[in-house]
């Protein structure tokens, strides 16, 4: 009975399914076909023979991966850059939101917000263009300052001891302002009566910040942190692709850029797909675990 009424509902709304056709074609062709395509990680893929004609080699690509020194270097770089980004950059937008919340001069507040949100909308290519100029070895502003103080100029983007710092700094420069928005919104949602009650009790501004504002946005902080951990293996592929060069592969090559170099540069399709698959699987596990943590501690699912 229930079944037949659902069938009737579907039949009388047949055109709803027609509306879905382009979306479903997109989903199958551009999302699920590449997922099927990962089977070449278990082959010695030959582009002329295709998936059907290529030789199956089982886990050989993954054995190659585990033995590869490149891979460990790349994994280390990915984790290091990603962890620097989390440890150094995750707390800053929270502080910025707390500071902006204390500003009573609206024009000043809006001006600062307008300025610090801007880099979010610029492409990595533009940002790397800005910083290549700013950090240029002889005529860049930063090296001009270093030399004015009697220091030696530094080739920031060609020097393995500085490249990761540049990556982390520019990522912060681009997104810190924008990432503050979610915390600003969370602060706006805090019940104002709490502040009034605290004022009557004689609490100062710092006290209110620490005992009302910060606890008030803690669920948002935890949720954003869990989401952030979910993308631990994404150290900023597009960013690094626009900034790096062979001189800094040693410190700057991350999983995403390595897959690109091995796959498209050297046409080692099967091996690079295996590296990509490792990346996707670990990423998937991180996201699922994050969602479980979120359900447990925040009583809400990320989706």
């Amino acid at each position: 009975m229930i079944k037949s009424s659902r069938w009737k509902l579907a039949r009388s709304n047949w055109d709803m399914y027609v509306l879905l056709i382009p979306g479903l074609i997109f989903l199958l062709l551009f999302k699920y076909t590449p997922m099927y395509g990962v089977v070449i990680a278990f082959q010695e893929f030959n582009i002329f023979s295709g998936i059907g004609g290529s030789e199956w080699v089982g886990l050989e690509q993954f054995q190659k991966l585990v033995r590869s020194e490149d891979f460990f270097q790349v994994l280390t770089n990915t984790l290091l850059i990603s962890m620097y980004k989390i440890v150094l950059l995750f707390p800053v937008p929270i502080v910025v939101a707390l500071l902006l919340n204390e500003v009573r001069k609206m024009l000043f507040k809006r001006t600062i917000q307008t300025i610090i949100y801007l880099p979010h909308f610029l492409s990595w290519v533009i940002i790397s263009g800005l910083f290549v100029t700013l950090l240029a070895p002889t005529d860049g502003l930063v090296n001009q300052i270093i030399m004015a103080f009697g220091g030696e100029p530094i080739s920031f983007l060609q020097d393995n001891s500085f490249f990761r710092s540049v990556v982390v700094f520019t990522a912060g420069w681009k997104e810190i302002g924008w990432n503050a928005i979610i915390f600003i919104a969370a602060i706006a949602g805090i019940d104002q009566e709490q502040y009034e009650a605290a004022s009557i009790d004689g609490a100062g501004r710092i006290r209110k910040m620490m005992s009302i504002t910060l606890p008030g946005i803690m669920p948002t902080i935890v949720l954003m942190f869990i989401l952030r951990i979910g993308s631990l293996l994404e150290a900023g592929t597009e960013q690094i692709l626009t900034m790096y060069n062979p001189l800094v592969y040693e410190t700057g090559d991350v999983i995403g850029t390595y897959v690109y170099r091995m796959g498209l540069g050297q046409q080692d399709y099967s091996f690079s797909t295996a590296v990509g698959l490792f990346n996707s699987v670990v990423g998937f596990i991180l996201i699922i675990s994050g969602n479980m943590l979120s359900k447990k501690f925040l009583k809400r699912s990320i989706w």
Binding site: N13, D15, L19, T33, I126, G129, L130
Partner: protein, 290 residues
């Protein structure tokens, strides 16, 4: 109470100084590049241009924005952004509408199939091989089709549709209207703000996309702005380590590089007031999931 007041004063100074410092460090890279784009070349190479222009001139900027290759790349970017945004909006709304009707058989499983792709993907190489097999290398379709639907955007529109009152659709149905008529004649006209927000999400994505053109576009005549700019930025930068005589000829001077960066930033600056307004809305819709 006196010490409280002094404490407040010190706190305010700390807050204003930190925020001003942050604002300035955001602006400094723009200022130094802008200054180089309007300075004389000799002044740049001799390291005289720091924050302010030396020997003001607009010839470099003029040369860059009237350069045929730049204009061509700009045109490609505009084309991809306009066609891509329209196509994405239409297909995303068409997909979101049926999926907002949970009671329809099959909808639940299709939503799961979409959401799964947010957590797991085939990766760069299988996607590249697919585009190759579809013969889309060096075809602008390769810049639009793989990102046609952003699942995140689709879910935002879906939850907006779910929030609309059912009564609108019911009365139209009593008059015998079909679902697609309801979507295009009733639902979409009511969805102005959310479509504007999502439209801007898509437009900025297409405009700023560097990754897809890098993978799929080799032909110079199809390079969008980001790819053109990257060639200029990195050519100049690689000068310090490996450089053939032929490369030497093609290396753009510092001023040209700076001017190209500035010229590429201007389109975003022009629409920035809208971006700021609608993007903030979008981020907040997305975070308070429906």
């Amino acid at each position: 109470m006196h010490s409280r007041k002094i404490g407040d004063y010190v706190l305010d100074i700390f807050i204003y100084v930190s925020l001003i410092a942050m604002g300035l460090s955001t602006l400094v890279p723009f200022i130094t590049v802008l200054s180089k784009s309007v300075s004389e070349e000799w002044a740049i190479t001799s390291g005289k241009v720091n924050l302010f222009p030396v020997g003001f001139q607009l010839d470099t900027l003029q040369y860059v924005v009237t350069n045929n290759q730049f204009l061509h790349a700009l045109l490609i970017s505009v084309l991809v952004a306009v066609v891509g945004t329209l196509a994405s909006l239409i297909v995303t709304a068409m997909t979101a509408y049926p999926l907002s009707k949970r009671e329809l058989p099959g909808v639940g499983i299709i939503i799961i199939l979409f959401v799964f792709t947010m957590m797991f993907n085939g990766g760069i190489i299988p996607s590249y091989l697919l585009i190759r097999q579809l013969d889309l290398i060096d075809n602008l379709g390769s810049l639009i089709l793989p990102g046609l639907i952003s699942v995140f955007n689709m879910l935002v529109i879906k939850s907006y549709f779910e929030s609309l009152p059912q009564s609108l659709e019911e009365s139209a149905k009593l008059d015998g209207a079909r679902n697609y008529t309801i979507l295009f004649r009733i639902i979409l006209p009511l969805s102005g703000p959310v479509l504007a927000t999502i439209g801007l999400f898509y437009a900025v994505y297409y405009w700023n996309d560097y990754f897809h053109p890098m993978l799929y576009i080799n032909s110079t005549s199809l390079k969008p702005l980001q790819l053109y700019l990257q060639d200029i930025v990195m050519n100049a930068d690689s000068s310090s380590f490996k450089m053939s005589a032929e490369d030497m000829m093609n290396v753009p001077a510092e001023g040209v590089r700076a001017a190209t960066v500035i010229a590429s930033t201007i389109p975003i600056l022009l629409v920035y007031p809208f971006l700021q307004k609608y993007f903030i809305k979008g981020v907040l819709i997305g975070s308070v999931k429906g």
